[in-house]
Symmetry: C2
DNA sequence: ACCTGAACACCGTTCAAGT
DNA sequence: ACCTGAACACCGTTCAAGT
């Protein structure tokens, strides 16, 4: 009774689609474009309105709030994730491909990383992915709650690994000077000889490659661990 | 050369601490308090100024930007994480306790979940934790880059699991009506019989307990997987 | 049914001016 | 050395008014 009322775009009837004027899809498409180009903080209702050559506040007829618009844009990102058919390649390969795919999608839309901690993923695309992931883990042999646990575990790993990556990309820019970066981190790590040992390794010469290796290492560990759950 | 200049509070000399007037520590403490109470969007420089009974813009003498202040507050959160001594309890227990601790810290400061994807963790507290985690994984037997891979993997898992938890807590409030929630999710999952099967399980009667179980399931899997890396 | 502009209550940040 | 207030360029959102 005392609980906050739960609201989400997905739980309200959308306005009937009519031909004239703008459409929700058009707005969401433009929003995603803007988010990709300018990031989460670069999207404003006013600027988006202008981009669609509409008055500053016209969008409010299609969308109740900016947060709702973000929910819609967020689900578009989920729509880019594909779950390979586990019956054709086996669940491990399927899970592995999915994980790499999810990472790439988030790296392509870094603003989505900020939304993972802010909006529940209840859109149709997110549901579709969740549904297919459940099928995958069922095919692997999981039963009951373990299906969802395995699902949550894999998703958590992928996002947990990728979210901080977007933070680095954001502060450092895509290309930067490896020496400057090394120096910066070395300075931050001063007083921790163990950390410095790490920094003097060649990590920073090709951080992209290093991240891939790190991602693969963790992914294999994760899948090994899940496989072990099946044995017990 | 073309790279964006890398900036962070931690790479600039702090202003010399002097006795009179306000201090950076005082400001950061007040900021954390405000963030805990009102969330990330509830913190404004103006309101924080008022809380310290200072003029709206006085804080800018201690801190260059709001983002810098957030970097400082973020590191305070890292300061609450404790890494048990792996020599006393063994690395698995150490890692497990650390993981649970990290999760609790983030749940206590939900705004920090939003910052993980936005700010690199370069503060002294974050460095301290990273340093101690490296020692833990060294004690476990990892060598070379694998030390950092294992580190990244565990951290990713914990944050990846916890970040969406804060999103749920935020939209649903701490206490809510389980039936309303079940109905909401059921509606979102309409058309995916597999998902519905899940919803009709008793998950939602005690979601806190369910999340704990989920977290433990993934954590054990993760640690099993890491242990397997040691064997090879 | 759809769109507009003005208006409200906010933001972060700069900067000349004060003590 | 520290603090202030006014000012600039923004926000999201509401709402009466237009077509």
């Amino acid at each position: 009774m005392t609980g906050k009322q739960f609201t989400s775009v997905w739980l309200r009837e959308p306005r009937k689609a009519t031909t004239p004027g703008r459409s929700r899809e058009e707005i969401v498409r433009a929003a995603v474009e803007m988010l990709d180009q300018e990031g989460l903080s670069g999207l404003s209702m006013r600027k988006l309105g202008a981009k669609l050559s509409a008055g500053a506040t016209s969008l409010y007829w299609y969308v109740a709030t900016k947060d709702e618009l973000l929910e819609l844009a967020y689900d578009e990102v989920w729509g880019e994730m594909t779950v390979p058919d586990p019956d054709r390649v086996g669940w491990r390969d399927s899970a592995s491909a999915l994980a790499h795919g999810m990472r790439q999608v988030v790296l392509r839309h870094p603003w989505s990383a900020d939304l993972i901690g802010r909006l529940p993923a209840l859109g149709p695309h997110a549901m579709e992915v969740a549904d297919r992931m459940r099928k995958m883990f069922k095919a692997a042999g999981f039963t009951g709650p373990a299906i969802d646990f395995a699902n949550a575990t894999l998703t958590a790993y992928v996002f947990g690994m990728t979210i901080p990556e977007t933070a680095w990309n954001a502060t450092m820019g895509a290309q930067y000077d490896p020496d400057e970066m090394r120096a910066a981190v070395a300075r931050a790590a001063a007083g921790h000889p163990d950390m410095l040992e790490r920094i003097n390794m060649d990590d920073y010469d090709d951080p992209m490659a290093m991240r891939e290796m790190s991602f693969d290492f963790g992914l294999v560990s994760m899948l090994d661990g899940l496989e072990r759950r099946l044995a017990t």
